[in-house]
Structures are given as structure tokens and as C-alpha cells.
Amino acid sequence: MTEKLKRLSQLEERILSCIGVGDCRNALKGPYSKPILELSCPNMEHGSGFEVNFARGRFSLARALLDGRIQPSEGLAEEVYQCTLCGSCRQVCNNCANPDLIVNARENIEDHIDIWEQFRADLVDAGVAPLPKHKKMFSHQEEEHNPYFEKHSERLNWIPKDSKFLKPGGEYLFFVGCTSAYRLNDISRTFLEIADQVDLKITMSPDEWCCGSVNFRTGVEKLGNETAQHNFEIFKTVGIKKIIATCAGCYRTLKIDYPKWLDDWDFEVLHSIEVIDELIQNKKIKIKNKIPGIITYHDPCHLGRHAEIYDAPRNVIEAIKQDDFVEMRRNKENAYCCGAGGGVKSGFPEFAVEIAVERIKEAEETGAEWLTSTCPFCLINLKDAVKEANSKIKVVDLLELVKNAI
């Protein structure tokens, strides 16, 4: 059994480090004055709520597989794949609010998300995963290099063929990503418009493929690795050293996953909102029309908990707002997931929207007119949830508000 589950076997010490106190079921931390003690795990809250639907139970499941008490199965995979990999369990497991108290389970377990991904990769090797919907999607991706069942040749259809951004040269490569290419390409256009206004030297490659995020998240490492290798070669060919992504998922993959898979990786990866923040700070972007209406912000898990970028979007909102910026009660490292990540949007679309509806309701509590974020994939799910909940809140990428403000 353990030969089949080679990754979990290697992770055994970390898996056994889960003592089982179960804080990952219930709680996020926060001071008495403003406690954040609500269900943190979207899978736990919106799933059937069995132990396997949150981290402690998933660790137990991994132990049982390693002990041979159960065997991998498609049913088991279905449970494991309901996790959005939001990382909230990792946040809770670090149960020391006091920086003086530094030894904790998190250090023993290290990174929960990494364990869940390797768990999935073992299930893929065991032949019981990914889910049928994922398999179909990846079959398409192998041919057309995107998970949206679109043609690769149409990836950059939203930009004129003679655009200067398609010409070689420039300081930055704009990595468009699949969602911003095929579904919400307004975000890409907006970014390029802003970049053009401040004379940011940008180039793009029509040869870019999907970043591979969905492959790495669902444990389909081979396809993820092939995708990464291809993009790596493209980046080297383009001859730049800095890559900008508007998608939090692409950003996380290029920034955190690629260096693990690519030996000679030597690129600086930036999220567009970091670039915009710097341009505003340096007064290269001037705010002319402050945005009226209360604004709130959804931290994408891939940008927030995964990459710890919290300040840049908030700095930008502070700069462009005319009225108040009101945080949702769960924000920054305690932000609630939109429900789309980890292959959940493709594997369990209704479940993903159900989670997002909760986030929309939380956004409505702030009284905001604008719910903004920095991830097109989150935005798609949040927009679906707005329809589902019949909400009036306007869901926009933060770049779109910036464009209106300058």
C-alpha cells in the first residue's frame, strides 16, 4: 500500500503531527474585542460536515490509508476533492496569537495545502482520481492548453493582432492566464490600458499555456509539470526577467509552484496589484476621479493566505476611494474562501457557488456598493453567487476601479 502512496508515506511524520484537537473544524482566532470565531473551513460548513470534510479528518484518512485500514477509492477521492485548498486550516492550526509563543503544530505539519495536494497526487497515481469532470477538462487541456474547452488559437482574440503588446521587447511579461483570456478578458484589457497610460513596458506571448494551477491543485502533477516546462521555455525565449499576472491563481502557481518544479527558475513574479500599488505610491499613477460608494475587498486565498499579500490591494483601495473602505468581518489571513479553488469550481460547481453566496452575504453586511477582488477566478464564482443570491452588490476586479479612477 505505502508504495502506491509514496508521497503520503514520505509525509508520514507531518501527518502524524496532527494531534487531532480539531480547531480546524470551527475556529479562526481573533481578540475578545472583535472575535472571529466562525466556521473557517468552507468544506466543513457547506459539505455534509463529516470529519473527512475538514483537516483533522483528512489527516485521519491519510493515516488510515497508510495503515492499510482502508483502500483508495473513487468515493474517497470525491471527499478529498471537495476541499478548496483555501489554507484556512493551516491558519487555524498555527494556534499562537502571541508572537512569543513560537512552537506549534504548524511547524510540525509545515504546510497543510502541500499535504492535501500530495494526497491528491497519490490518489491520481492510484488510479482513483482526479474526478471525472477534471479528467474531461484535462483531456482538452492536453490538446488546447486551457481548461475552459476553448481553442488555444483564440487565447488572445480579445486583443488586436497588431497590438504593440504582442511585439517583442519590454521589461515585463504579462502572463494573461486562462480566465482573463477566455472569460473575463476585460480585466486583461484594463490592465493593459493602465500599463499603457504609465508607459509600463509590457509584452505578451501568444504561446503561453494555462499556468497549470488546476493541475497542481488537483494532483495531476505530470500535466502541471509539462505545462510549467513549456511556459518556462516561453519565458526564456521572450527574454524578460519579470512576469506580471492579474490572476491570483496564476500568480501563486508561478511564484510558489514553478520554483519547486523548475530547477533554473529565475524570474520575478508580480501580481498586477503590487505593480499598481507601487505606481500609485511613486505618483506615476495619479488618481483623478475618486470612486464613490463603499468598497469592500475579498482576499483571494491564492494571493492572501498562500502568498501573504494583504497590503497592496488595500493601499490601492485607500488611494482610489471617495467614501469608506469597509472590511468584511473575515479578512486578510482569516478571509473566507470564495469556494472556487482546488478544482472545486470545475468538480462541484453548485457547491462552489453555495460557498460564494455566503461570502456575498458577508460582503453585503458591510453596506458596500463594490465588492472588489484581485482574482478573475474568484470573480467568476462571486458573480455566479450574486446571481444565485439575487444580490445588488457590484463585483469587480480592483483594476477596473483603478481604471475609472485615473
Binding site: S17, A27, F50, R69, E79, N98, L101
Partner: protein, 491 residues
């Protein structure tokens, strides 16, 4: 129709399963030492009515039922003892049913966690006083009430959590539903007091380790949370057992929580402190090697707080070597403990220290204040006497902490840190039982019994025959087929 199908009919497919890959996750509590047994079915009811139906079906098939709250049992209380068990996962029953601000009472479904309940109460300026067990971030109200729990904060002021239960709804082993407390009278809608209407039968179900029925709803006293608090941490280099007792006794003479507002008082014996400092858990404590104590006290008036602070500080300084602090950076952990929910995290950090190779075989017990230093010495002696066996089992024995209750007792967080090596499990369990037996013979009270503790109590013949027969007779009345948590207390 088979058992499983009948259960599915009650809660639907989504909340009932016999899949091995779901059930297997219920084969453990926090201890990974006692045998892990997978239940045959796990079911998640949402209402008292559903629980009652489930129990009736279980009776029909004579199948054991194990109620489980947060699943934080340290002594095998929240995992099955037999494979045919239907595990009743009660965490779906997590609603706050009523907050009665006029009568300072809150009614909840028993599957809600202590932290979620208190998060709502904080917003209204209240708390439950005793904040449940140390695992209160996930432990349920029902679990706390089943074990006379404490440790999650507030024990010095409010005692055990069961002291604050004023209403209880229980599904008996027959499937009948009864209400206890003032609601024993059918004319009373809202619970407000535990006592009256004859004998205190609620007590049968409190601290029962989940054996006498399934707790479905509870009404707890809630208290105004004082707006002011303060806390100090002190270090005692030598003689910390006796000196910390002197400090407690002196504070008690001056009114303890009633007059001085003491909310919590924790003592960490030197071996525990050494473990904390060696592993760098609290870096600001440096390499101190003595005992450490800290207290937190509350007040509704700032001047009162300042005055009581002076009194507490004076007593503490009289017996201690030096203050750790006053800032958190200098080692005063009380802000974290009280204001940043450290009270629910302090034990978890210690558990986490064990890492992948060790676990806690806890022997927590209640000790009268008068014998507190003596018991610390006796447990040190027990470790010396069992040095060889402990060494062979790759285990260590000790007391992690002692924290005070509200009148004349304290909780001991004692036990054995043991290896998870499966070849040594039997040896560890033997030592675990020996220490529990030792504590019983030293006239200590085991309050959280689970599987192993309840067996040791019965096997050691700690109960008189008359009492045990009485206990069994009551069990037979409330659960005639013996289907609720069978095996505990040798039922």
C-alpha cells in the same frame, strides 16, 4: 428495511454514511494509543426529534450508539469501543436557540462549540464564565457537560462548566426525551434554575461521560463580561510547589474571585517549565528552571481592578523570585491567555510540542488545595519509582500544569507523554492505568474518564459495591438495553 436504511430515512443520505473512508475518521479522539475502532455507521442529526428516532431504531436493532461532540476526548471517550457502533456526530446540532438577557441564560443545541457560543455572547457583552474545556475552540457544550470540564478559561472564578447548567434536554436510551431543571414542570417554558421540584436529577446526566443519554439542548447561565482585566506572570526558583500553594491560600483568605476578581490561576511546575523553555515555546522565558504561575483577574470598575492588582501583586512578590514581564515581550503571557483566546489554545500548543512521535496519555484529576504540593511531590516520586518501565516504554510522566478551581480544589493536568510506537502501546496503556490507579488510591477525583478512566475506576473497585449497583440500576432505568456508550464504566 435494514438498520442503515432506516437511519438514512431519518436524516437523509447526505448526513448518514457507512462508507469506510468516512467512518474511519471517527476511530480516534486525541489519544492515538487506545485501539482505533471504526464505527459501522456515522450519522449527523440536526434535531432532538431526529436523535430520539435514531435511538429508537438503535434499540430495535440492539445496536450501540456513541454520542460524540467535538471529538476531543483524551481518554477514549469520543471513539467507539465496538465495531457495530452507530456514531452519533452531534456537531450539526449547533444552533443558539435563545439568549435571555433579562435572566442571563442562553439555550443552545449541545453540538455547538464553546468558542462559537462565546463569540456570539461576547458581541452582546456576555460570556459563559467557565469557557469549557481547553479544547473549547472545537469541543462542544455537550462534551463539556459530560465531563465536568474546565481549563478553557475561567475556572478560578466559575469552577467547572457543569456548575452553570440550569436546563438540560436529554434523549434517554429508550428514545424518550426529558427536560431537567426548572423545565421539569411542564408549565415552565424558559429554563432559569437548575434546582427545585424535588431531587436534582440533572446531576445524573452531568459528568456522565456520555453514558446516561444523549444531551441535545442545554441552558447555561451567562454572565456579564467585566470590561477590565489584568494579569501577571511570576517565576519561583525554589520550592515552587509549596510557595505557589501559599500564594493561593493567601489569595483565598482575602476573597479569591469574589473579592479579588481572580478569573484564572495557573501553575506550571519546574519540569513543565523546562519543557517549555527547552523547546522555545515561550522564548521570553529564557532558560528559567523553576516554577511559573500566572493569574488573570477581572473587574467592572477600573479603580477596583487597580486596587486588587496591588493586593495580588503584593502576595505574589512575597513568595516569588521575580516577575516575568510586565509586558508580553518580557514573558507575561496573560494578555495572550485572556484577551487573545490563549485560554483555548494553551493546551493545544503543549500537545503540538509532542510532535509526530509522542502523544499525551492524560491522567487529569481534581485535588483539594490542601494536598496540592503533596500530590506534585508524589507524582514526581511516581515517576522516579517507574523510571525503568517508563524508559522501556519510551515515555515520560509529569504534571504539565495545575489550575485552580473556584473554591477549594484544583485541576491537575498530569499524565504520560508516550511514544506512538505501536509495539510499545500495551506498555504505555499499562503505565497509564497504573497512574490512574495510583491517583485513585491517593484519594483524587477522576472527572474525565472516557474509556480507560472509567474502566480503571470500576476495576480498582474505587466505587463501593452499593454505589456501583445503584449506578448500574440508574443506568438500567435510563438505558434499559444498554445501547448508549456501552463499555464505559464496564456497563
Amino acid at each position: 428495511m435494514a438498520l442503515y436504511d432506516e437511519l438514512v430515512k431519518i436524516v437523509g443520505n447526505k448526513y448518514c454514511t457507512d462508507k469506510d473512508y468516512i467512518c474511519v475518521a471517527y476511530s480516534r479522539g486525541i489519544d492515538p494509543c487506545l485501539p482505533e475502532i471504526t464505527p459501522q455507521i456515522v450519522i449527523r442529526p440536526e434535531s432532538t426529534e431526529q436523535v430520539a428516532e435514531i435511538i429508537k431504531i438503535a434499540n430495535k436493532y440492539k445496536t450501540p450508539v456513541l454520542p460524540r461532540g467535538g471529538g476531543c476526548g483524551l481518554m477514549g471517550g469520543s471513539k467507539p469501543i465496538s465495531e457495530e457502533t452507530i456514531l452519533l456526530d452531534l456537531t450539526r446540532m449547533d444552533k443558539i436557540l435563545d439568549i435571555d438577557e433579562e435572566n442571563h441564560a442562553v439555550t443552545v443545541q449541545c453540538g455547538i462549540s464553546w468558542s462559537r457560543l462565546n463569540a456570539v455572547l461576547f458581541d452582546k457583552g456576555y460570556y459563559t464564565g467557565n469557557m469549557g474545556p481547553g479544547s473549547g475552540l472545537t469541543a462542544s457544550i455537550g462534551g463539556g457537560l459530560s465531563h465536568h470540564s474546565g481549563g478553557g478559561g475561567g475556572c478560578a472564578k466559575y469552577g467547572k462548566c457543569t456548575e452553570h447548567c440550569i436546563g438540560l434536554e436529554v434523549v434517554l436510551g429508550t428514545g424518550d426525551v426529558i427536560t431537567l431543571g426548572s423545565q421539569e414542570s411542564k408549565f415552565i417554558d424558559n429554563p432559569f434554575i437548575r434546582y427545585g421540584f424535588g431531587p436534582d436529577l440533572m446531576g445524573i446526566f452531568l459528568g456522565d461521560n456520555g453514558t446516561m443519554g444523549v444531551k441535545t439542548e442545554a441552558t447555561l447561565n451567562m454572565y456579564r463580561k467585566p470590561p477590565y482585566y489584568s494579569g501577571k506572570t511570576f517565576y519561583i526558583e525554589d520550592g515552587s510547589y509549596e510557595k505557589s500553594q501559599q500564594i493561593v491560600l493567601e489569595m483565598m483568605r482575602l476573597g479569591w474571585s469574589k473579592e479579588l476578581g481572580i478569573y484564572d490561576f495557573f501553575f506550571y511546575p519546574p519540569p513543565s517549565v523546562m519543557g517549555i523553555t527547552t523547546d522555545g515555546l515561550i522564548e521570553s522565558w529564557g532558560d528559567i528552571k523553576g516554577g511559573v504561575f500566572f493569574y488573570v483577574h477581572e473587574a467592572f470598575d477600573e479603580q477596583v481592578l487597580n486596587r486588587t492588582s496591588e493586593v495580588l501583586e503584593k502576595i505574589s512578590k512575597k513568595y516569588s523570585t521575580r516577575e516575568l514581564g510586565p509586558s508580553p515581550e518580557k514573558g507575561n503571557i496573560t494578555d495572550w491567555f485572556y484577551a487573545e483566546q490563549g485560554h483555548w489554545q494553551i493546551f493545544h500548543n503543549l500537545f503540538s510540542l509532542m510532535g509526530p512521535d509522542y502523544f499525551v496519555a492524560t491522567t487529569e484529576f481534581i485535588c483539594p488545595i490542601s494536598r496540592y504540593p503533596e500530590m506534585l511531590h508524589k507524582l514526581d516520586k511516581w515517576e522516579e519509582d517507574h523510571h525503568e518501565e517508563l524508559f522501556d516504554a519510551e515515555a515520560e510522566s509529569g504534571v504539565g500544569h495545575v489550575y485552580m478551581l473556584n473554591h477549594n480544589c484544583c485541576y491537575f493536568g498530569s499524565g504520560i507523554n508516550a511514544t506512538t510506537d505501536s509495539d510499545l502501546k500495551e506498555d504505555v496503556i499499562k503505565l497509564w492505568k497504573e497512574q490512574l490507579q495510583f491517583l485513585l488510591k491517593e484519594k483524587m477525583v477522576l472527572y474525565m474518564c472516557g474509556q480507560i478512566g472509567s474502566h480503571v475506576i470500576v476495576d480498582s473497585r474505587a466505587y463501593s459495591d452499593t454505589f456501583y449497583n445503584f449506578f448500574k440500576n440508574i443506568k438500567n432505568v435510563v438505558d434499559p438495553n444498554g445501547i448508549i456508550s456501552p463499555g464505559k464504566f464496564r456497563f
